[in-house]
């Protein structure tokens, strides 16, 4: 089978994410990533993540990136134990590229989603010790001609989301915000604005989610995946959206 994950499991299992360690780590010594939101829009899907990582009550990092390009037509956002999650994303990226090179074709979106299931399940032992990784996978499905969002639980159980979804500690608030504002057929630009708004609401009520940091110029990572491929919005593009959102909140803090 042209799977890099399977090859690595045989050839160098010590390189797999989350292999090793017994007993429990005190969780305030480990960086955790927080909120990711994703919305299906006209012609594709938008995914965004805040920039905060926490260790217990401490803000461990203000500019962590939790949204990554998986391949040309898909992206992944991660919540949970940052160290393991970032490693898992790296492995997932190689997994997709490896398949593409060996087989000469790209995996179907369901094929990609299933490979991610296997990896999350491989981390179940660590998740039981409190080091869970919960990704949110989005992509453009060429067969269906539209964007899709696939969510997971720690056992790798996957679910196709219709419309929008959010994961991480601030996800309850983000989902509430999206529920009120999202409607079918939103354009990509509207979806970007909705995503930034939802992250603002998450940061408003969840201490572990970071809001847009205007003093340091640190804004959410926002990416759009369409038939044309993955595109991460530039700092200035996101900055403009953030300014509008923050401007609106000046007069109406609740959005």
């Amino acid at each position: 089978m042209p799977s890099f994950h399977d090859f690595l499991s045989g050839a160098a299992p010590e390189l797999l994410p989350g292999r090793s360690g017994d007993g429990r780590l005190p969780l305030d010594t480990v960086r955790h990533g927080t909120t990711i939101v994703a919305l299906i829009c006209e012609g594709g899907v938008v995914i965004a993540g805040d920039r905060r990582a926490t260790m217990g009550n401490v803000i461990a990092q203000r500019d962590i990136e939790k949204v990554f390009k998986a391949d040309e037509l898909s992206a992944i956002g991660i919540a949970g134990t940052a160290g393991i999650a970032v490693e898992m994303v790296r492995l997932f990226q190689v997994e997709l590229e490896h398949y593409e090179k060996l087989e000469g074709r790209v995996l179907s979106l369901d094929g990609k989603a299933n490979r991610l299931t296997t990896m999350i399940r491989g981390n179940l032992g660590m998740a039981m010790q409190g080091l869970a990784v919960v990704p949110l996978f989005v992509g453009y499905d060429e067969a269906l001609g539209r964007g899709r969002i696939i969510s997971y639980d720690v056992t790798g159980g996957r679910n196709d989301e219709t419309g929008f979804h959010s994961v991480g500690s601030g996800s309850v608030f983000a989902r509430g915000a999206l529920k009120k504002r999202y409607h079918d057929g939103v354009t990509a630009d509207e979806a970007v604005s909705l995503a930034v708004n939802a992250l603002y609401d998450a940061a408003d009520d969840d201490s572990a989610t970071g809001g847009p940091d205007l003093t340091r110029g640190i804004f959410p990572v926002v990416a759009v995946v369409t038939a044309d491929g993955y595109r991460r919005l530039s700092e200035s593009e996101v900055g403009a959206v953030v300014e509008t959102v923050v401007g609106e909140r000046m007069t109406n803090p609740g959005g």
Binding site: A11, A12, R90, L91, V94, H98, K101, L102, G104
Partner: protein
Amino acid sequence: MTTPFYASPEQLVRDRSEYARKNIARGRDVAVLSYADGILFVAVNPSSALHKVSEIYDRIGFAAVGKYNEFENLRIAGVRYADMRGYAYDRSDVTGRGLANAFAQTLGGIFIENSKPYEVEVVVAELGTTVVDDQLYRLTYDGSVSDLSGYVAIGGQAETVGAALEASHAAGLELGAALHAAVEALQAGVAAAGNSTDAVADTGLEVAVLDRSRQGRTFRRITGPALAELLGA
């Protein structure tokens, strides 16, 4: 009791080399050359599904002639080697030289230890930041490696194709000019083989580049209208 058959090492090596050479000589040629914005691979290949030219890594391409299943084995091993290195260390730590060494070890081992050598010739090309940094490695069936610059040809008529490229290749060619030089050289190879007068473009060309203007994965195939346009220009 039968007496065990004795063959001197010289005899063994000679026989195996002859066997491999004879079979490679039947293969169609591949030309690989540096041009201003990258490295160009051109193969005479009637199949659009079974590739002779492939991507190994961000800046490394692979071209082969000979027995398909054998060079396909090498290609898969090459992709695994590169992906494993890149994952364990860093993407920038995967080099063409390392890959050429790995192939040389494999081919050399098979040549001596197996009952028959691989009937393949392989090119490993690594894209540099400028034309002068481009690296081309040619590997033969016995594991010998040569490090070349500018251009390399492999296949049955490699000498003829190589000589034609020697005459037409210049540093800093544009893509269109490089493609024309390669096609003409391959056509000379077909003529030298004397078994066909068809134009190589009609037989089928497999064309790909490592594109210096791209970030990350630089390999891309040139097919369909884009290829027709370049060939026509």
